[in-house]
């Protein structure tokens, strides 16, 4: 039941993307019609609203939609905003998978710190909206469409096989899973070498950035 609903929503998304690519001026009309279609689909499957699978699917839907908008929106600042929405969706995925600590870190580090630097760069460079941004002509357009169809079929195949398994196995996680304590314990015992190596890598990157910047100034 749920899996059919999800496939329906994904299909709606791809129809929308195709309409947007092939006939940009009809996108608003297509969006309205498909939105009503999605609502009707939900109304028929209202029991699904209580299952975690449905919410995972809905968040995935928003994640895909926002990722798509990052690529196709002509204005770089709006692209950044959609990227932030996308990163929030990933944090919600972590929440569904019971990794609370990771979810909050995802928001602090990616949606908070890194994206602020993106905003900074766009503000400083004063990037203008790319007026003529659209998909390349002829062959590229049909190639993209072909790849999209292949991707939908692949997704259908992948999801179809897994339709009997629940998204989150109840009792699959030991108590305390995903807490700061459990994660810290793992980082400082089992994954200590990788953890320290990553910190060295970060320091090297930081020193490198300072050296490059200094050379430019003096």
């Amino acid at each position: 039941m749920t899996i059919h609903l999800l496939l329906g929503l994904v299909l709606i998304l791809f129809v929308f993307a195709a309409v947007r690519a092939l006939a940009p001026s009809r996108a608003l009309l297509a969006g309205t019609v498909l939105g009503i279609g999605a609502l009707a689909l939900l109304a028929v499957n209202y029991q699904a609203l209580l299952s975690p699978e449905f919410w995972a699917g809905l968040i995935g839907f928003v994640a895909i939609l926002s990722a798509l908008m990052v690529v196709i929106h002509p204005n770089p600042m709006v692209s950044i905003l959609f990227l932030i929405v996308n990163l929030f969706c990933i944090a919600l995925f972590y929440l569904i998978l019971r990794a609370e600590f990771l979810a909050v870190l995802q928001i602090i580090i990616y949606a908070g710190a890194i994206m602020v630097l993106f905003v900074f760069v766009v503000m400083l460079l004063n990037l203008k909206a790319e007026e003529g941004l659209r998909l390349g002509g002829g062959p590229q357009r049909w190639g993209a469409l072909l790849l999209a169809v292949v991707f939908v079929l692949l997704m259908f195949h992948a999801l179809h096989d897994r339709s009997d398994q629940p998204y989150v196995e109840p009792g699959a996680f030991e108590s305390g899973f995903g807490s700061a304590r459990a994660l810290g314990g793992l980082l400082f015992s089992r994954y200590l070498v990788a953890f320290e190596a990553a910190s060295l890598l970060l320091i090297a990157g930081m020193v490198g950035a300072v050296v490059v910047a200094k050379r430019k100034v003096g």
Partner: protein, 345 residues
């Protein structure tokens, strides 16, 4: 529907409505307090005409803002321009949801926490949503297509990023002492071992300074320095949208004060209250009032400092953040590690 789920839903809805109402009322009356206290400091009268002691002034202001014409300048980037005031106001409200304003108590036959969400990573949730506030400011400045707005937004982003670091590091000390990221555990730790204010004074001072910078208040209000930047990032806003920025500033102040109380001043803890042997509801009421009083003190401190200190210069601001607060915060973590190792906290 499952009766358990229904109960939780109703309880949450009531709490959210209550917290929302309290926060907005405090925000409205903070504007009046700010004007009255500034008048008192400068030996003036302040607004005292609308209602007794001017107590209805916030209401009059609200009505005025609602009926003002909202001018949208033709050169702005409209979608982002409309989004920015919401982006700055929502995080200010969300952060308040994890702060416990009182102890858990028996109400209508069940345990009720005086807190909307008792989250395991409460401190991190606050930091996460506090860092979202910068988007509202940056996008407001950028979408206004005005050089003064842009300058204000740039200054503000740089300032918020710089002081977030010092703030985070100063909080690390509190987390190490309590051994938990949950705000209730931190309050409980302070009830048992004394307020963090005593052992972690350097951390508290760093936190307070960073909180002033994070809320864009004097002496760190460079993003809206009116002598140089007109009004900074909200130059192009008018009517209710302008007042959203204003309300967000005060909501941020309330949350920052509540956080300072929770992390360093024992939260809702009243020393020696258990000696009085009050019945549970009365004790809870006293503790909630004590929490309000402590928050009130910090709010007064905000106003007091604003009308006492002059504004920092931009290089002074950056020097203070990176060359003073950050190293001191790291030293403070060393000091707390020492305390924890010696079992003194």
């Amino acid at each position: 529907m499952d009766p358990d789920i229904a109960r939780v839903l109703v309880e949450s809805a009531v709490k959210i409505a209550l917290f929302f109402f309290i926060l907005l009322t405090v925000v409205a009356y903070m504007t009046l307090v700010e004007r009255r206290v500034s008048a008192w400091i400068q030996d003036r009268q302040g607004p005292n005409r609308v209602g007794p002691l001017g107590l209805l002034q916030p209401l009059a202001d609200g009505i005025k803002f609602l009926f003002k014409e909202e001018v949208t300048p033709p050169h702005v980037y409209r979608p982002v321009y409309l989004l920015a005031p919401m982006l700055i106001f929502v995080p200010a409200l969300v952060t308040f949801s994890v702060i416990p304003i009182g102890p858990a108590l028996e109400l209508f036959g069940q345990r009720v926490r005086l807190q909307i969400a008792d989250v395991d990573n409460g401190v991190l949730v606050i930091l996460a949503f506090a860092s979202m506030g910068v988007y509202g400011i940056a996008l407001a400045g950028w979408s206004s297509s005005n050089k003064y707005s842009l300058m204000g937004a740039l200054r503000s982003s740089a300032q918020l990023i710089s002081y977030e670091l010092a703030m985070g590091l100063s909080i690390v000390g509190v987390l190490m002492a309590a051994g938990s990221l949950r705000l209730n555990d931190i309050v409980q730790h302070q009830i048992e071992h004394g307020w963090n204010l005593i052992w972690q004074l350097p951390g508290f001072l760093i936190f307070l300074t960073a909180a002033f910078a994070e809320t864009n208040r004097l002496p760190f209000d460079l993003p809206e320095a009116e002598t140089e930047l007109v009004a900074g990032y909200h130059t192009e806003y008018s009517g209710m949208r302008f007042s959203m920025f204003y309300m967000a500033e005060y909501a941020n102040m309330v949350t920052a004060s509540a956080l300072a109380v929770t992390l360093y001043c024992g939260g809702y803890h009243v020393p020696g209250l258990h000696l009085l042997r009050l019945p549970e509801p009365a004790a809870a009421l006293v503790q909630v009032l004590a929490f309000g009083l402590k928050v009130g003190f910090f709010l007064f401190l905000y106003v007091w400092v604003r009308w006492t200190l002059p504004r920092f210069r931009y290089d002074q601001l950056m020097n203070l953040g990176w060359k003073v607060l950050l190293p001191v915060a790291v030293l403070h973590i060393l000091w707390v590690s020492f305390l924890v190792l010696m079992n003194w906290t």
